[in-house]
Amino acid sequence: MKTREIPPGFKDFLPGEVKLKRKVEEQAAALFASWGYQEVITPIVEYLDAIESAGTGADQQELFLFQNRDGRLLALRPDMTIPIARLASTKLREEPLPLRLFYQANVFRCNSPQRGKYNEFWQIGVEMVGASGERADAEVIALAVETMNLLGVTDFQLSLNHIGIFNGLLQESGLLRDEQEELKLLVIKKDLVTLEKELAGWALPGDIREAFLMLPVLHGGLEILERVPGISRVPGAVAGVHELQRLFHALQAFGVEDRVVIDLGVLRGLDYYTGVVFEGYSSNLGYPLLGGGRYDNVMERFGWPNPATGFAIGVERVLLAMQEPPALAEPKCIVAGRDLARVMEAAKRLRNEGWIVGLDVQGQTREELEMLCRQRNCRLVLVD
């Protein structure tokens, strides 16, 4: 039956799932609000031009595209960073900086469906526009960690890197453009075997070659930054290292440093991020739970040059990572009786007392009602 099909990669949420999802979103939203972030809502579609000009390197093959009646191409939003950059740069430019904004939204990407990866998925996240420096970065990262703590993702770990280290070494390498592109791809994919072979064939300084081999596997505290060969003679990389050091100290002040490791192999969308980048993981899930970083070049493409940073959390992934979803106990009852006026009066009183009240609208017998209450795990209130 074709009428029963649902397009691949899309999902219905049943009542129990919605309840959990809402709870996650409400808790996160309340936390964001208490840190001074304000919610915004944007249209589900954007002009393709807006998405492409943002320079986020959004893959057109991943976009759901269609044509507006005026002939222009529209895309379902693939993330919330672009819509918020557009919104902020057009409608909030008179506001005092930094802007602190948050969202709860569905986003759309054409993926091959698998566990935790859908074509439509829900994100909650924040963007801070108009502030740079380690305090801004640390606030956003600490908020991400706090959110995971609040949601009960216990074995949470956040991996931190600075894009400037990789990009600095890349510039210094003297590699050809094509080689640089391939190198980026190999490091992102962590295909260390091909990486080693290719690096052996390319002309680049020995210490930089060594560094590219080490970056993907370096992981730990601040001390690993001193172990990268050649890093100290590349100005871009040195700046990145210093920023990471300052950020790490700031994170200690926020009290979240024990959840954070430095992982020089974390490279997210290199064309887009300009500074600190991070991903959050739980050992219960084969995919990152959240990701984010600093993107100081995006706002200017919307005519409002400003530094910015933020993160997005995958709501479905958080739900998968929460090993035991919290039991949601609620007082429930069914009110039944012959006299509708008295039934309504009782129902109203119970609802005011905080009960979830269902009415018997079918005039069922007492036996039927008792059976129903056992199935639904609720109490029966007979008013006559």
């Binding site: 770990q157 994919k189 075997v193 992982d263 739980s282 050992s283 995919y287 990152p288």
Partner: protein, 219 residues
């Protein structure tokens, strides 16, 4: 990944024996591990280790989804499946090559002559990407085995397949036209496990690299 134990996905078949040799050289348990047995999961709690036995083509899936932290599988399968896993070490064994092969009478013909022709293969993705990268278009027929039969029976003009000695090709009157790439067994790692269990995994990965380098079990 749900327990303290590391899980390694091992491929049944021709790669299993060198895998067991490698595990032995690392000082990891190998006793009782036998693909003839019906056991699919081997637990070694004293080593905090677990092996699972998979079909080689299934190894990347178990690793990608985090059912296994590590896996051993041929590069041929990795490129065909394009799964999202980290590829950490070239283990050197299980050498084979991807080639385009054609009937002997077309030996030495330029590849361009096969534009718009039909190619039979178990590896449609590899075939498709190779020809596209050469600016050629071909029609790919996916088969599941005995690929050499396809040109004999006239359902394809050429094949893309893995060869080790080349004997099967010769026996079926086929000849290699172009090599697409070489393949050996690789150590793959789940991308989250690598980050979350880094302290445990990185030393093991380094040890494996070391053993492979020293033993020189190269091609």
């Amino acid at each position: 990944m749900l327990t303290d134990a590391l899980t390694i996905a091992l491929p049944k078949g021709r790669l299993l024996e060198p895998c067991m040799k490698l595990l032995g050289s690392l000082g990891l348990p190998t006793q009782g591990v036998d693909e003839e047995s019906r056991t699919l999961v081997y637990e070694f709690p004293e080593h905090k280790l677990r092996y699972i036995m998979c079909r080689p083509t299934d190894v990347p899936a178990y690793v990608e989804h985090g059912a296994a932290d590590l896996g051993i599988v041929g590069k041929d399968i990795i490129v065909e499946q394009g799964k999202d896993v980290f590829e950490m070490v070239d283990l050197g064994f299980g050498y084979c090559r991807f080639v385009v092969a054609v009937p002997t009478k077309k030996k030495g013909a330029p590849l361009t002559r096969f534009n718009y022709r039909r190619v039979a293969t178990k590896f449609p993705r590899v075939a498709e990407e190779f020809f596209r990268s050469q600016g050629l278009q071909v029609e790919v027929v996916k088969l599941h085995g005995n690929i050499e039969l396809a040109p004999l029976m006239g359902i394809a003009d050429m094949i893309v397949d893995i060869v080790s000695s080349g004997r099967t090709l010769r026996e079926n009157n086929l000849v290699e036209l172009v090599e697409i790439m070489e393949s050996t067994a690789r150590l793959i790692v789940n991308r989250i496990s690598y980050r979350v269990n880094h302290q445990q995994l990185q030393p093991l990965i380094e040890k494996i690299s070391e053993v492979v380098k020293n033993e020189g079990v190269k091609k």
